[in-house]
Symmetry: C2
Subunit: 378 residues, 2 copies
Amino acid sequence: MNAKRTPTTPADKKKRIEEMNQRIEKLAEQLIKEIEKEENPHLDIPIRGSGNVFFDEKDKKIRLGDKVARRYLFNVAHARRFMQTLLVASYVKKDLLANDLTATLRDLYYAKKHTIQGTKEDTIDEQKESDIAIVDLEVALDSFRERLHLRAEPKGRMAGPMKVVDRVRDKVDTIDLERMGSGGWAVPSIVEQIEFKDVEIEYVLVAEKNAIFDRLNEDGYWKKNNCLLMTTAGQAARGARRLLQRISEELKVPIYCLTDSDPYGWYIYSTMKYGSMALAHESERLGCPDMKFLGMSTSDIEAYDLRAVTIKAKDVDIKRAKEMQAYDWFKAKEWQHEINLFLDKKLKAEIQALSSKNLQYISNNYLPEKIKAKDFLP
Amino acid sequence: MNAKRTPTTPADKKKRIEEMNQRIEKLAEQLIKEIEKEENPHLDIPIRGSGNVFFDEKDKKIRLGDKVARRYLFNVAHARRFMQTLLVASYVKKDLLANDLTATLRDLYYAKKHTIQGTKEDTIDEQKESDIAIVDLEVALDSFRERLHLRAEPKGRMAGPMKVVDRVRDKVDTIDLERMGSGGWAVPSIVEQIEFKDVEIEYVLVAEKNAIFDRLNEDGYWKKNNCLLMTTAGQAARGARRLLQRISEELKVPIYCLTDSDPYGWYIYSTMKYGSMALAHESERLGCPDMKFLGMSTSDIEAYDLRAVTIKAKDVDIKRAKEMQAYDWFKAKEWQHEINLFLDKKLKAEIQALSSKNLQYISNNYLPEKIKAKDFLP
């Protein structure tokens, strides 16, 4: 197989840590040189925000442009954030990478918050400040949070005919996702170290809702259809997004997404597929451009006779739909048609609306029919 | 061992379904008799709400009193809810129990919502109505939601030296909670069928936060200390509460609870331990009276020198603390002292505040010290 593989062994991890250490050291050495030459120490931080975000048509990813802000230590407007960025770098290097530990953004905030000696000034007032400094460091190092050993809130569960080999420091666990009972395996926040094994899946079905996971798991859907079942339990967490990307790229199986039929569902889908404007610097590793939107679509409402169990769209839904219609990543004619249909009918529908037919309709009819007919939105 | 055991085999499950069927049939037969005798059909529904809720000092559970409301079909104020309660009963019996399927409250709502023939009246307008009808049926049958095969939103993850045997219809999985990698096993919504196996835990540590689970899991805390580690990821879901109760009663191990030091943390704790006023009829199976509050307590703030990383209490925290101080289940002198201390200092602290010392302080110092000293609140 010619697929890309993420290096997952302990030796690979050591190498990743070493590389990150070097990048931080390089940054520090540049600053020391500037200090020795009595120059004003500076950091180059790629600019985030809509002015430097664009949609890469070829790779189908929301990306950061090449505009860079230069930040100086001796500049009253820059000094505080400069100091905070270096505090983050020091914590990542000395506390996390050096000990092979991971921490949350909140841990970092508590660890580095203190009153600067001889002043009444705190290094960090609110967590928002250290969070911004973390992203500054991520983009300055051309890296991402998980490589800095920073964890996000984990969310999501999965089950299906494959195994994952996961490592917690020296401990190695092989987890059979076919034997997870009614609960499923909880998707962790960092998934770089995970290896895929005994893969017998033909596709991945990722559902927005826990309730759909439970329904399909009870129906043995993933067993009958040889697929990996995942729920993101709402907007997908970073761990789930990265895992989907890795599965798509490394295992080369299609990923089908199942959300409610409404602008929020489209948004959940588009974030997993293309990345987001807020995290444009992360699309490279969090986007999943080959993902397809299985449903529920506005035309499903007619096709499956669900009008009696729809919900009237609110003004805020209409507004959101119009905004999304203008995004470059919704310009495909199928999506323009879908959004126009929504704006015309003004109806939303939940996946569970299918339960009005019968509880197992989704497993026995809706999903197999849609997948067989390849009735997807791009 | 003399501990209580929940019957978990498929035969036990069949018996449970049969028993629930009989209770629903008995209810239906009473109604048919009344109809045949041309009497006004009625349902007796135990009253919920604060007027019929009390704290059972002996069993340490928030309980429903014995007041009952009689609801009649031929009464304009009762007819709609009467009809809805029977719709729920029919769905539970004919769709769920008969097919050994489970559903969410939302599925039930969609399945039974329809326009009554020859009228413009819908059986159910909003899900709130069917949700209330479900609780009506639960208390009328002297049972609980999971026995009616209704699922709640699952939440929480766990890891530790024991196995669980879980069943999804005919499929039997043995899950080694010692081999769950960095994710953990996701706690399901219904746990009646779960069997405990190869139990080597000495206690359970249940943390309010995912971040604490990740920290302790990375530190191998549960391995070094022979405990089961669980996170509820916020307010505990029904599945997690029931599982904690079952572990406490059946495995006879202590359960220690770890939340932030604030009224919301106390509330999360008290709900797991005593049940809640809103679900007083469920305390019997969701309460965990032997649970202990390990921390974080207001006195920990001084004892562990955390003042610099505290958060000033807001008016709403003070108000909430005063309300809780008046509850019967917070009358223990230790809790009165704790709440007074909070009202005096007006400071909250998060568990992660311990990261200001060092990242592993919680695993290496705080938890072992507190547990060794048995420094708990009741």
